[in-house]
Symmetry: C2
Subunit: 216 residues, 2 copies
DNA sequence: TAATCATTCCAAATATTATTAGAATATTGG
DNA sequence: CCAATATTCTAATAATATTTGGAATGATTA
């Protein structure tokens, strides 16, 4: 009975191409950014705090693994995830990391131990309250990202504009702020600002991708 | 407003530990084997066709990423996945690879273009037929793996024993053979043998882990 | 207690990957 | 067509990862 070593080796090698795409911290950050919607190379570089050249190299990796696709608009090239399953995989990878790695758990707790986190378990209740208007769900990401996709009932005020637009928010209801996901600090900052200004605010760690991923 | 580079870097670094665990072909093969149930180091080395030392090194990687746990029994140390989510992640990674990478698709087709594959879409019908006894679902993995978990209604005849135990199988019904998943060749071999001997046999690419993973 | 066996640890050799710099390409706007 | 800009490509270096061999560990059995 054949052992099929050669065949098997090529099969696992191919799958490893996908795994490799998820094995570098910066590349993961790029994937997370792209799961918020398409972005230009320059924009990705800014957001991930790396050089354009480096982000371009990471994008090439992702492109050869067939995980991203491009579109040209004028001088800019816009990248997007080639498949929703890529964002889902990102969510599943970081969830597993959060479940298994104590170092990650404690690092996450340091981010926002002061203002109360909203546990994701009361998803149902959160939506019920949002539907009734008992709370305000606030999306503090840049406006384009909100336009690409956002949580149900969410209202958009990008973090940059929050200070000027405070008056749009009610003082008598809780504000639940969210951003790109658990590794994005915009919602944390938003909650900090809102709390200082006397609003009742909490932050939701989940982003759109986490919300959309069915598996818990 | 802070940018939180340092914090972010550590967060993505942690998640990348999980990604790295899935970035080497041999390690993926080990993960797949472990998703069939716990195995000794030696056994893993045999199955993956690598040295004990090398498999031990890969296991160490998996252990530091907290993805596996060990148990000692006599002289042997048995490894198992630390969480069902690890097997789920393996399934999701290889599915994404199959969807995105043409090279993988064509390599998979070469394996078994002759005997008809059973598309996984008729999962419902397959189970209905199995329940009624219209078909025989045959698990050709080693017996321990069958004992750890198997598909509903499946009967176990390990590939090694198949030739001697042919008489246990009916000639008037279709036999659907499966093994560890799409990269395992045991079911292919089983179908080849059965077909030669005049049985009606097809092979199912999914294994227990794929079957158990809800997301399609 | 010694001998044996499975496994891990350590260190070295090789192969791969991440990152940076400089040259090349493609597009727009004049 | 030319100049300006965004991005990629190529090549080089620094950093990591994989693989292999030899020594060490730790439990079991005689």
């Amino acid at each position: 009975m054949r052992n099929g070593r050669k065949i098997k080796d090529t099969l696992y090698e191919q799958v490893a191409r996908i795994g490799k795409a998820f094995s570098s911290p910066k590349r993961l950050e790029v994937i997370e950014l792209l799961s918020q919607g398409e972005k230009s190379v320059e924009r990705l570089a800014q957001e991930a705090s790396i050089s354009v050249k480096l982000v371009s190299a990471h994008l090439r990796e992702l492109r050869t693994a067939q995980l991203v696709e491009t579109r040209r608009e004028g001088k800019n090239i816009y990248y997007r995830l080639a498949d929703k399953a890529v964002a889902d995989l990102w969510v599943q990878v970081h969830r597993l990391a959060e479940n298994r790695l104590e170092e990650l758990q404690s690092a996450l707790q340091k981010i926002a131990s002061q203002p109360g986190d909203l546990v994701p378990s009361d998803r149902e209740n959160l939506m019920k309250a949002a539907r009734k208007g008992e709370i305000v769900v606030l999306d503090v990401r840049p406006a384009e990202e909100y336009l690409t996709a956002h949580l149900p009932f969410a209202r958009s005020i990008p973090l940059d504009e929050l200070r000027q637009r405070l008056s749009e928010l009610p003082r008598d209801r809780s504000i639940v702020a969210y951003c790109r996901g658990p590794y994005c600090l915009m919602a944390v900052d938003a909650v900090e600002l809102l709390s200082k200004e006397g609003y009742r605010a909490v932050h939701l760690r989940e982003g759109v991708a986490e919300w959309a991923s069915e598996a818990r």
